[in-house]
């Protein structure tokens, strides 16, 4: 028992917590939770909690079902929305096999492996996501378009706005859970909000994003609405992305920073960017993992549909944001393809690994795209060597399936499961007859 674990046990006693939830994430990015009575926690620290992995998406097959959830005491937090005298706390858990060794299918382990690789090369990976989501009025009735809570737009201040109260409540609760919020505002779509989390190392951040989604949903419910991280809930309105700013540190030094270089981006930074761009088509099925994700990517507005980079170019997939002279610490790259409904562990593992591959193999960064790439013709884009991202989940899977790189980063088991599951989703989707088809064809054909 280490001190962190002792601290957890003491806190539970002192604050009279009745339940402790162990959180983990399945391969598709859904949060899973198992409750442990405080009395069993000591045992759980020592040996973990056994559970049947076969019922968790992507974890294991039926005949090797036993898995162990091992709580990570450093992630202990009291859940603020389960207040009252008998509170509840949560810890993230690592998933292990019964005879020791991490489960290869645990997304946390996939990210950890990627981070370990970075750390072998002397790097720490920091990320800073801007999470967008919509608030809709309760309830959602199948077949009817959801109703946003307001009709405001980008940065609008809404008088007596529910969104206002909501954001304040959500931020308070996030801060109570140790998640620092940098920034929040109303986004472009009606009922759409954005909350930016303060940068942290990728593992903490992936945990934070999982927590964030839960908190936002809880708070929305308390305010009589519901939150959705669906990438494109409303046709004709902006989708919900999760633009992520990334940076690599070597000890205390920002490895992307080079004061004399263009945009103050070092050679390492350029290679990292080149790596992310070069592999962006292969990893698209993970960064944008739902059928609906491609409606956002190809729905116009600011969506990054083409593989290119720019400075202050809001149509680029990868952006080198504005910088203030001399703030070397904050030099970073913004990746704009990721959407809010991704599995953050797998996504960050792939982004990091793509960047590291760029560094290691000294990829050349292509020329900067200075125009609005949406405004170019196909021919112009082709001449400039700008590839489109996949048009659909099916195409993304096709590309990913041939990627040794993605297989290596995700590990063969996750790779295999992910493809299988997503092909199934694609097949299910293809078999649908949509209202688009009925409206357009039924009477005419």
């Amino acid at each position: 028992m280490d001190r962190q674990q002792e601290y957890v046990l003491r806190t539970i006693e002192e604050r009279d917590l009745r339940f402790v939830r162990l959180w983990f994430t399945d391969v598709l990015g859904t949060l899973k939770s198992v409750a442990v009575a405080p009395a069993e926690l000591e045992q759980a620290f020592a040996e973990g909690i056994g559970f049947d992995g076969s019922s968790i998406e992507g974890f294991t097959r039926v005949y090797e079902a036993d898995m162990v959830a091992q709580p990570d005491a450093s992630t202990f937090q009291v859940l603020p929305w389960r207040g009252g005298n008998a509170g509840t706390a949560r810890m993230f858990a690592d998933i292990r096999m019964p005879h020791g060794g991490p489960a290869q299918t645990d997304p946390r382990h996939v990210l950890k492996r990627a981070l370990d690789k970075a750390s072998e090369q002397g790097y720490t990976f920091f990320v800073h996501p801007e999470v967008e989501f919509y608030l809709f009025k309760e309830p959602y009735i199948s077949g009817q378009a959801p109703t946003p809570v307001d009709q405001a737009g980008y940065f609008d201040h809404v008088a007596r706005g529910d969104g206002h109260d909501f954001r304040r409540a959500a931020i308070t609760m996030l801060e109570q859970m140790g998640i620092s919020v940098e920034f929040s505002h109303h986004e472009g779509g009606p009922g759409q909000n954005e909350i930016d989390l303060r940068f942290a190392d990728a593992m903490s951040m992936a945990d934070n994003i999982m927590t964030f989604r839960t908190v936002v949903r809880e708070v929305a419910l308390q305010h009589g609405s519901f939150a959705s991280f669906m990438p494109k809930p409303l046709a004709g309105q902006p989708g919900s992305g999760m633009h992520t700013h990334v940076s690599l540190f070597e000890g205390d030094t920002n490895a992307f920073y080079e004061p004399s270089a263009k945009y103050e981006i070092s050679a390492t930074g350029r290679r990292f960017a080149a790596g992310v761009l070069a592999h962006s088509r292969e990893i698209c099925a993970v960064t944008n993992q739902w059928v609906n994700s491609y409606k956002r990517l190809w729905g116009g507005e600011e969506a990054p549909s083409y593989v290119c980079w720019g400075h202050n170019n809001r149509s680029a997939l990868l952006r080198v944001p504005m910088y203030s002279i001399g703030k070397g610490h904050s030099r970073r790259l913004e990746i704009r393809s990721i959407d809010s409904a991704c599995n953050p562990y797998l996504t960050y593992a792939l982004i990091l690994s793509a960047g590291l591959k760029g560094i290691q193999e000294e990829y050349e960064l292509p020329d900067e795209a200075e125009d609005d790439v949406w405004a170019l013709t196909d021919g112009e884009r082709r001449a400039m060597g700008i590839d489109p991202l996949p048009q659909s989940l099916g195409e993304a899977l096709d590309i990913m399936e041939n990627s040794e790189f993605v297989a290596e980063v995700l590990g063969e088991q996750v790779f295999d499961f992910f493809l299988r599951n997503k092909w199934q989703e694609w097949a299910d989707y293809r078999s649908q007859v949509t209202s688009f088809e009925l409206d357009r064809y039924l009477e005419r054909l």
């Binding site: 060794g101 290869q104 399936e401 295999d416 299988r420």
Partner: protein, 993 residues
């Protein structure tokens, strides 16, 4: 030699000068500078008594020339002059110092006690370069005192720890002085309290004459100071300390200060607060860091802060032994210690490699971590003190501890003397004769010192080489069996803790086995008592130490009294080691050896691990069965031969140098001979029953992997039986053939001494519904009904393995045109094969099996690769003679040669086929039964990875490795077998709509 300054050269040579003429000149020069009454004879005696008389003579001249005071004081004979000469003869670096600082002559001559505090005093009121110079001069002055006492000591082994202790204190004082200089230099330095923690040998008060000084910097703001500003100042102070000590000035440099042992190593901040350290050590630190902390000691700066820090880390250090993964971490660390030696110096290393200084220190620290949790007496940071405490607690045997103590001191003395000469960080025995001579003489040897010092060093090395046995394992034996009347013994609980730390998962069981193996006064128990400490180490290195020990007990019980067994274990060192490896890594080998314990003798036989030639096996089987009248006994006889040969192959696989390919070949040859001998016995049996010579010819055709000469441990023998009457008036020929085959199958099948070999005839015409035995005529008419061409696929691997030569030729003549059709096979036949294969993929996989992990029937597995090869063969073998063979890989590469398949694709397919074949085989070795897919169990995967020859700890990677190899193979199969890239989604036949 009287008052005349001239000295006969012969006398000088006899006195030990190597260059007498030069020495003569030098001594004359020295004498000239000295007062007239100086006694030359005693001077020569004193000079010649040093480690390097020539060097000392030269040094003497340099010291006394132009220094009348020194000349005068050194003219008098006695211990004071001897002290100076000892330094001059042992260290040219210190000679330079004395020449440069004449006042140091008196320091050496008077041999005062070292006063480390003087170093701190020397820098008071100074700064910058003058400060750094003063620090260096003062440091050397104290260093001279330490070296003088060390060199003058009667017994260098006794003096070693004292010198090492003083050197550590001196280094601490030098850091304190550097800290003072740094504070003067750094702005705002008053904001921060700074403590320097000594780590490594400095922390353990056992420093060398010259080495990196390992430290960790710790800081806190003084009361009321801004924390950030304070930490910034502290970081500047720490950098300044490192610079002050490390940089070269007019007075040279001290030594590099190394802060790499701090949290996060070189990537972490140079200075941390107490809280930051606590945070790191409770959350992130790994086992080796706790082991390093064992030596932590406050050496400079704020003591109160340092004490708080020590109070914080101490409990963590002693809890480290109960951390998860401790055993694996420790084993990994041990391997690194043993491995890390530059090859060029492996033979002359004092520090690195097995039995080197680091190995000793590491092993002692490991025992401290294992037992120190429950025993506070073991908490010393000093190697020799810790060893003493381990001895007093009974954790290490008394005699072993004494010998190790001596060995360690001796190696350290050598290291000290080597370093002292030039003040260079060096841990290698010199090779030049003059260097060795000086080294030998510096530890008091005379005569042929250069030879003797090497001999003594080698002797100590031999002692230390059995270090792990002495430290780790022998005390365990002490705990269960009275080896010596030593009253101090490892307690049963401590023995269990230690067994667990060494990797035994069931310490109670292990203790029971040890007790059983060593109880009693029999010759066997006596030999095993001496053997087991070594063997325990070998078991512990295996994948399953517990199983190894248990198997050893069972085999010893079976063989215990055999004279050859004990002699083999005792006398043939490698035999015992091989046995331990076999037993702790292979359940299959254990199962076989339990049935035939005396086959253990193969391990002691130089040619024991080379598979016999087919002829030799045949002869052994024939002589074995022909002695038996009864048919059942005859079969038992050949099955015993098979068991023994199988053991030979298994042993050669595990500890010999049989390659993967040759294992499959050896197994095939053994199976061929076995079935052949079986057929002879059956023929004799029927001839006796019928009281007539059989008038039929009978052959057995090997199919599948047997036909391809590529069977593994778990393969069935796929066969067909074919007969022909010898003459046209033979009668009842079908019945006779059936009778023979029935006897054969009964004889080879069922339980017996060897693992059962199933004869599987399902690949015969019409499969299970066809007759078991067919005449050549019947085969001919059956095959003539074929039309499509693809039916001959199974025949591609047909090979006659036993029976009459004439019939064999006829049979082969019959099938060759079928399996290698002149114009290949038609497009529709190819489509037919593809359809068949696609259906099989959906249907044949056993229930619950994962198509991604099944070696044989899974995607990209054995069947996939073989079908690609066989399709290629059906199409092209008629015109490519290299493809007219039954082996999978030879055919594949013949295809590459003929340009039918690219070498790149062939490599991918071969890799998958080889990995699948090997995994199946090592699966049997490890688990004792067939393993069809990558085991999900961690320990199984680990055991299989070890049997594959992987380094320990890599088992978990196996599943990923197979999945990757198979996925790549499947991609090639899709393209080559199905003709074009697969439509997506690919590879999920059951899901395709």
């Amino acid at each position: 030699m009287t008052s005349s300054p001239g000295t006969p050269l012969a006398a000088l040579a006899r006195a030990g000068f190597t260059d007498a003429r030069r020495a003569d000149t030098l001594l004359r020069d020295a004498l000239k500078a000295m007062p007239a009454e100086t006694d030359l004879e005693s001077l020569i005696a004193d000079v010649s008594n040093t480690a390097d008389p020539d060097q000392a003579a030269l040094g003497l001249v340099r010291v006394v020339e132009g220094n009348a005071e020194a000349a005068s004081s050194l003219s008098k004979k006695g211990v004071e002059r001897q002290r100076m000469l000892a330094i001059l003869g042992a260290s040219c670096a210190l000679t330079d110092d004395v020449v440069k600082h004449p006042e140091h002559v008196d320091v050496v001559r008077t041999a005062g006690k070292p006063e480390p505090a003087a170093v701190v005093e020397a820098v008071q009121g100074l700064e910058d370069r003058p400060g750094a110079d003063a620090l260096r001069v003062a440091y050397r002055k104290e260093l001279l005192r330490i070296a003088t006492a060390d060199l003058m000591a009667k017994d260098p082994l006794v003096a070693m720890p004292i010198a090492a202790h003083q050197l550590a204190d001196l280094a601490g004082a030098a850091i304190e002085a550097a800290l003072h200089l740094a504070r003067v230099e750094v702005a705002n330095s008053e904001l921060a309290k700074v403590t320097v923690i000594g780590m490594g040998k400095c922390g353990g008060r056992e420093l060398n004459y010259i080495s990196d000084v390992d430290v960790i910097f710790l800081a806190a703001p003084v009361e009321g100071a801004d924390e950030e500003a304070a930490m910034r100042a502290a970081t500047s102070i720490a950098s300044a300390v490192m610079r002050v000590c490390g940089q070269a000035t007019a007075e040279g440099s001290l030594w590099p200060v190394d802060a790499a042992l701090r949290p996060e190593g070189k990537r972490g901040p140079l200075v941390r607060s107490l809280d930051s350290h606590r945070e790191y050590y409770t959350r992130w630190a790994s086992t080796w860091e706790f082991q390093a902390l064992l030596k932590a000691r406050v050496i400079a700066g704020d003591e109160g802060l340092g004490q708080e820090w020590l109070d914080m880390v101490a409990p963590l250090v002693w809890e480290a032994g109960s951390r998860e993964g401790f055993v694996e971490d420790v084993q990994g660390m041990r391997r690194r210690v043993e491995e890390h030696v530059p090859a060029s110096q492996s033979d002359r290393q004092l520090k690195l490699g097995p039995g080197g200084l680091r190995d000793i220190e590491f092993s002692i620290q490991l025992l401290q971590l294992v037992h120190g949790r429950s025993d506070e007496t073991l908490h010393s940071g000093t190697t020799l003190e810790a060893l003493e405490a381990l001895r007093d607690g009974g954790y290490v045997g008394r005699d072993d501890a004494a010998e190790l103590d001596t060995a360690y001191r001796f190696l350290r003395v050598l290291e000290h003397r080597v370093q002292l000469y030039r003040m260079k960080r060096d841990h290698v025995m010199p090779s030049a004769e003059c260097d060795l001579r000086r080294l030998g003489r510096s530890i008091g040897l005379r005569g042929e010192a250069e030879r003797e010092v090497v001999e003594r060093w080698r002797a100590q090395q031999r002692e230390v080489r059995r270090l792990h046995e002495r430290l780790f394992y022998r005390p365990l034996l002490q705990a269960v069996a009275k080896l010596s009347p030593d009253a101090l013994r490892l307690s049963p609980d401590a023995a269990k803790t230690r067994l667990a730390a060494l990797g035994f998962r069931d310490p109670n069981g292990a203790i029971r086995h040890l007790e059983s193996l060593t109880s009693g006064v029999s010759r066997r128990a006596t030999i095993q008592k001496t053997l087991l400490p070594v063997m325990l180490g070998w078991f512990a290195d295996g994948a399953d130490p517990d199983a190894g020990l248990l198997a050893f007990r069972r085999i010893s019980d079976a063989l215990g009294t055999s004279h050859w067994y004990l002699a083999m274990l005792r006398d043939e060192g490698t035999a015992a080691q091989r046995l331990a490896r076999v037993l702790s890594n292979s359940r299959y080998a254990v199962d076989l050896l339990i049935k035939a314990p005396d086959a253990v003798a193969l391990l002691g036989d130089p040619s024991g691990l080379v598979p016999l030639t087919p002829d030799a096996i045949r002869t052994r089987m024939t002589t074995a069965w022909q002695r038996q009248e009864c048919t059942a006994d005859a079969y038992t006889a050949i099955r015993n031969v098979r068991l023994r040969e199988l053991i030979r192959i298994v042993l050669a696989d595990l500890v010999g140098d049989l390659t993967d390919k040759n294992i499959r070949l050896a197994l095939t040859r053994l199976t061929d001979s076995f079935i052949g001998a079986g057929l002879e016995i059956a023929t004799r049996d029927i001839e006796r029953k019928r009281e007539a010579e059989l008038d039929i010819d009978l052959i057995i055709i090997g199919m599948g992997r047997l036909g391809g000469r590529e069977i593994g441990y778990s393969s069935d023998a796929d066969v067909m039986y074919c007969f022909a009457p010898r003459s046209s008036d033979s009668k009842d020929v079908g019945t006779k053939a059936s009778e023979v085959i029935t006897v054969l199958r009964k004889g080879l099948g069922g339980s017996g001494p060897d693992p059962t070999l199933e004869l599987d005839a399902d690949l015969r015409p019409e499969g299970r519904s066809g007759p078991l035995v067919r005449s050549l005529e019947s085969f001919t008419s059956y095959y003539s009904r074929w039309s499509a061409g693809w039916e001959a696929q199974a025949l591609l691997r047909a090979r006659v393995i036993a029976g009459d030569g004439g019939l064999a030729t006829s049979f082969i003549d019959l099938i060759d045109p079928l399996r290698w059709p002149t114009d290949g096979i038609s497009g529709s036949a190819v489509r037919e094969m593809r359809k068949l294969k696609a259906r099989m993929e959906a249907e044949r996989l056993p229930r619950g099996a994962d198509p991604r992990t099944h070696f044989k029937l899974g995607l990209g597995g054995l069947t996939d690769v073989e079908w690609v090869v066989q399709l290629m063969q059906l199409r092209h073998a008629a015109r490519v003679s290299g493809m007219q063979t039954t082996g999978t890989l030879p055919t594949l590469w013949a295809g590459v040669e003929a340009g039918i398949i690219s070498a790149e694709d062939a490599n991918v397919l071969e890799a998958a086929w080889l990995l699948a074949s090997r995994l199946r085989d090592v699966g049997v070795l490890w688990r004792g039964r067939a393993v069809d897919s990558v085991p999900s169990d961690y320990r199984d995967a680990e055991g299989i990875a070890r049997a594959l020859g992987r380094k320990p700890g890599h088992g978990v990677e196996l599943a990923g490795e197979w999945r990757r190899t198979a996925r790549q193979s499947r991609n090639v199969v899709e393209r080559l077998f199905y003709g074009d890239p697969a439509p997506s989604p690919r590879g999920y036949p059951s899901r395709r709509s």
